[in-house]
Chain length 438, copies 2
C-alpha cells in the first residue's frame, strides 16, 4: 500500500524517507496498543499532527511507523460554568476555537495554520501566535494532559485545577518536548472570557531603544489590556507597501513601526485608554508619529501591513525564516549586528525584521538565497544570539532543522539533562528519535 | 556543636531527628561542592528555606546534612525596562516584593509568611496565596531557574524569555517538586505592572451552586480585573464574628459569604465595574444581599473577616487544616458530604470551610481534635476527594505529612512516573529523600 504524500513532509518541506505504515488510531487504547507493539520490537515511531510545523519534527524516515492523530479529533466535553474543555489531541485549533465560542468562552491561542494544525501538536511545540502578550503561550492554556509513554503506558494527568501543589506537574514533560517523551492524546484546556473589540494604532519610532521604552510604558499603563505590540522594520514596511499597495497615514521613513492593539473586557471599549497612552508617548517623544484606526477598515489596513508575510515569502523566495528570542535590551544591538553582517554577506537579498517584542520574539525573513547558502545564513543569524540570554526558537520548535544550533542558546548542562530525561522516559529511543537532541 | 532548634522543624511542628550539620552556603559554587561531597558518600540531604512549610518537607532526620539557603539572599539585578528580577533562592518573599516596588514594578505572589518564607521554597512548592485568580501561582511568575542537581552539577536554565520553544523547559522539573529533583539556587522572576487600588464588596449567597454561577458571571464581566473571590461558610463567618467582634452590613444568616475584590490598572478605579456586576447579580438573584466598601475602613473590615484565621486556629486548637482542590461543580457536593460526615464523627468540633473558589481551592479548619483522631479526620476529608478530579493539596505541598494520601488524587501511572523521574535525576536518593513519593 503506497503512502499518501501528505504524511511525508510538513510545511518546512524537509523529506527524510518513506515510512513502513501510517496508523491513524481512533482512541487512546488503540494508540497505546500500537506503541506497545513498537516498544516490543524497538520500532521507531514518528508522531504527526496537522503537518504545519516548520522545523521538520513530524517528518518520517524510511521504515518508520507513523502515528497520525487526525482521527482523534473530538471535543469530548466543555464545562460551560468553569470554562474548561476536554479535547482529543487531533482536533484542529480552529475546532477548539469554534467550540469555545459556541459555549460562550474564548480560546486565546491563535496562529495562521489554525484550520490545519492540531491542538496536540500546538501543545507539543508550545505554540505561541498572536496573542501571547495578553494570554501567554499554549503552556498557559493547557491545564492537564493524557499521554501515551514509550512503553505504551497511558499516563492520565488530565488535571483541570488552576492551583495544585501535589508533586511534580507532569503536563510540563510533554508541553514543548516535541513528542520525544510521550504522545499527547487528550488535553484539558483553560478557556477565557470573551474579550471586547480591539482598538488599533500604528506608531513610528526612532530606535529599538525607544520601542522598548514605549512597550514598557504601554504595559504599565494598559496592563492586561495590551493585546498586540507587533514591530516591523522600515525595510519590512517598505516591502509590504510595495506588495500590497497600501498607503500609510504616518511618516513612512521612520526606522521602526509598531502595530498596537488594546482590548478590554467584553462590552467595553479600550480605545480611550489606548488614545491616552499614545498622547503621553507623543509628549515624552517615545514615538515620532501615530495614527489610531477610526474604523474597522483602518484597523484592517494596519493589520494588512503586518499580515503581508505570505506575499513577502513568495516575492523573496527562496527565503530563510527565523523566530529568535532575546531580552528587550539586547534586541537593538542584535538586529544592528545581524543586519550589517547580512548586508555584507548577502547584499542581493533583503533582510526583513519584525516580531512580537512583548514576547521577546524577533522574526527575520531573508531572501532570495541559493539553497547552498542556507547554512551560512543560519550560522550568521544564530551566532549573534550567543551569550545574550536568547533562544534560537521562540515558537516554531527545534525538530531536525534547528538541532545543529541548539547549543548556541542552551547550556551543556541543559542538553545533558534533556538527554537524561529522554533516556529515563524512552530508554529504547523509539519516540520521535533524532528530534531536539541526539 | 549543637544545632539551633530553628533548623529542626517547620510550621507543621513535625520532628524527625537531629541532623549531622547545618550548612549555610553563600554561593552556588559552595552549595554545589557540598552536594558533590554528599553524592560521593551517599549522604542524605535535607534542603531548607524559611521553614514556614506546613507539610514537613524541610524537617531533617537524624544524621542528615542540612543545606539552608538563608545566606543566599541577594537580589542580584532588576531589569527595570522589562520588569525582570534575578534573585538568589534564599531571599524572602518580602524582599522580592519590596525590591520590585522600588523598581516601579510589582511582584504578585503573596502569602502570610512573606517576611520569613524564601522565594526558592515558594517555587519548590509552587506557592499560591491570595492573588492567584488574577496572576496565577508561583509557576506563572518564575521565568527560569538555576538548580544544583544531585551529583553537584550546576544546571543553569535561567531563561528570562516569555516565549521559548527550544526543547523541554527545565524550570518545570523544579517548580512544585519540593526539592526532590534538585536544589533551586537562583531564579529569574517576572514582575507585573503596579495595579490600581482594589474595590471591595461582601455578598451573601444561597448555595455553592449560586456561588459558582456568581464567579462565572464576575469572570466574564470583570475579566482580569477580578482580583479576589474568597468564599466563607456561614459557620466560618459566625466564628470569625464571635472572635473579632465585627458587625457585618449584610444578612449574616446566609449559608455562604464571599469577599470580592476588583482591581484595574494603576491610576484607574475598578469600583464602577464591580458595582455594575453586583447590580446584575442582585437582579439575576445570584446573590441575596451585598455591600460595597465605601471606605478603606470598610474594606479592611471585610478583609478582617477573612483574615481572622490565626485567631480561629488558636481558639479551636488542636486543629487539622486542609487545602484541597476541586472543580467548581464538585465543590457543593463535596462540602456537604464532608460536613455531614465530620458532624457525625466529631460533633464536638467545629468544621469551617472557606477558600479561593477561582483557584479551585477549598480550605477546611477543623478542631479541636485529639491527636489520636488526626488520622481519621484526614481520612474522612481526603477520601471524599476520590474520583472528583481533585487534589489533596492546592498550595501547601505534600512533604511527609500528606504523602500517605497522595494516591487518592494522583493515578498509579502518575506516581510511577514521579518515581521514574526521581531515579533518573537522583539515582542515589540523596536529595530530600522520603518527600512526596517513596
Amino acid at each position: 500500500m503506497s503512502i499518501d504524500p501528505r504524511y511525508l513532509t510538513d510545511w518546512s518541506g524537509l523529506s527524510r524517507g518513506i515510512p513502513k505504515v501510517v496508523h491513524r488510531p481512533r482512541s487512546t487504547d488503540e494508540l497505546s496498543a500500537i506503541v506497545r507493539d513498537c516498544d516490543a520490537s524497538g520500532q521507531k515511531i514518528t508522531i504527526q499532527g496537522g503537518m504545519t510545523g516548520l522545523a521538520g519534527g513530524a517528518v518520517p524516515a524510511d521504515g518508520d511507523v507513523v502515528i497520525n492523530l487526525e482521527r482523534m479529533n473530538q471535543i469530548e466535553s466543555i464545562d460551560e460554568l468553569e470554562g474548561i474543555m476536554l479535547v482529543q489531541a487531533g482536533a484542529t485549533l480552529q475546532q477548539v476555537q469554534e467550540a469555545a465560542e459556541q459555549a460562550g468562552w474564548f480560546f486565546p491561542v491563535d496562529l495562521g495554520a489554525r484550520g490545519t494544525c492540531q491542538v496536540g501538536g500546538n501543545a507539543a511545540t508550545n505554540a505561541g501566535g498572536d496573542r501571547v502578550i495578553r494570554y501567554g503561550t499554549m503552556r498557559d492554556s493547557v491545564l492537564g494532559v493524557e499521554a501515551v509513554l514509550a512503553d505504551g503506558t497511558v499516563l492520565n494527568s488530565l488535571t483541570r485545577l488552576i492551583k495544585n501543589s501535589s508533586g511534580l506537574d507532569l503536563r510540563f514533560l510533554f508541553i514543548g518536548s516535541e513528542g520525544t517523551l510521550g504522545i499527547i492524546t487528550r488535553l484539558t484546556l483553560k478557556l477565557q472570557p470573551v474579550p471586547g473589540a480591539g482598538a488599533t494604532a500604528l506608531a513610528c519610532v526612532s530606535s529599538m531603544t525607544q520601542l522598548a521604552k514605549l512597550l514598557r510604558d504601554m504595559k504599565l499603563a494598559l496592563g492586561n489590556k495590551l493585546s498586540a505590540f507587533e514591530f516591523m522594520s522600515e525595510r519590512f514596511v517598505a516591502q509590504s507597501l510595495e506588495l500590497t499597495g497600501l498607503a500609510l497615514p504616518v511618516d513612512t521613513s521612520a526606522p521602526w513601526f509598531v502595530l498596537i492593539e488594546a482590548t478590554g473586557e467584553h462590552g467595553t471599549d479600550a480605545g480611550e485608554a489606548l488614545q491616552h497612552s499614545l498622547e503621553q508617548a507623543l509628549e515624552k517623544e517615545t514615538i515620532i508619529d501615530c495614527a489610531v484606526a477610526a474604523s474597522i477598515a483602518d484597523a484592517e489596513d494596519f493589520w494588512r501591513l503586518r499580515e503581508s508575510i505570505p506575499e513577502i515569502l513568495t516575492h523573496l523566495r527562496p527565503t530563510v525564516n527565523f523566530d529568535c528570542g532575546l531580552p528587550w535590551s539586547q534586541t537593538g544591538d542584535y538586529v544592528a549586528a545581524v543586519e550589517a553582517a547580512m548586508d555584507e554577506k548577502f547584499p542581493a537579498a533583503k533582510h526583513l525584521f519584525f516580531g512580537h517584542l512583548g514576547d521577546n520574539n524577533i522574526h527575520l525573513i531573508t531572501g532570495p538565497h541559493d539553497e547552498s547558502a542556507f547554512h551560512e545564513v543560519e550560522e550568521t543569524v544564530y551566532a549573534g544570539l550567543k551569550n545574550r540570554q536568547a533562544t534560537i526558537s521562540s515558537e516554531h520548535g527545534i525538530g531536525f532543522l534547528k538541532k545543529p544550533f541548539l547549543h548556541y542558546t542552551r547550556s551543556d548542562a541543559e542538553l545533558a539533562t534533556l538527554r537524561r530525561l529522554k533516556s529515563a522516559m524512552d530508554p529504547k529511543g523509539t519516540l520521535n528519535p533524532g528530534r531536539v537532541v541526539d
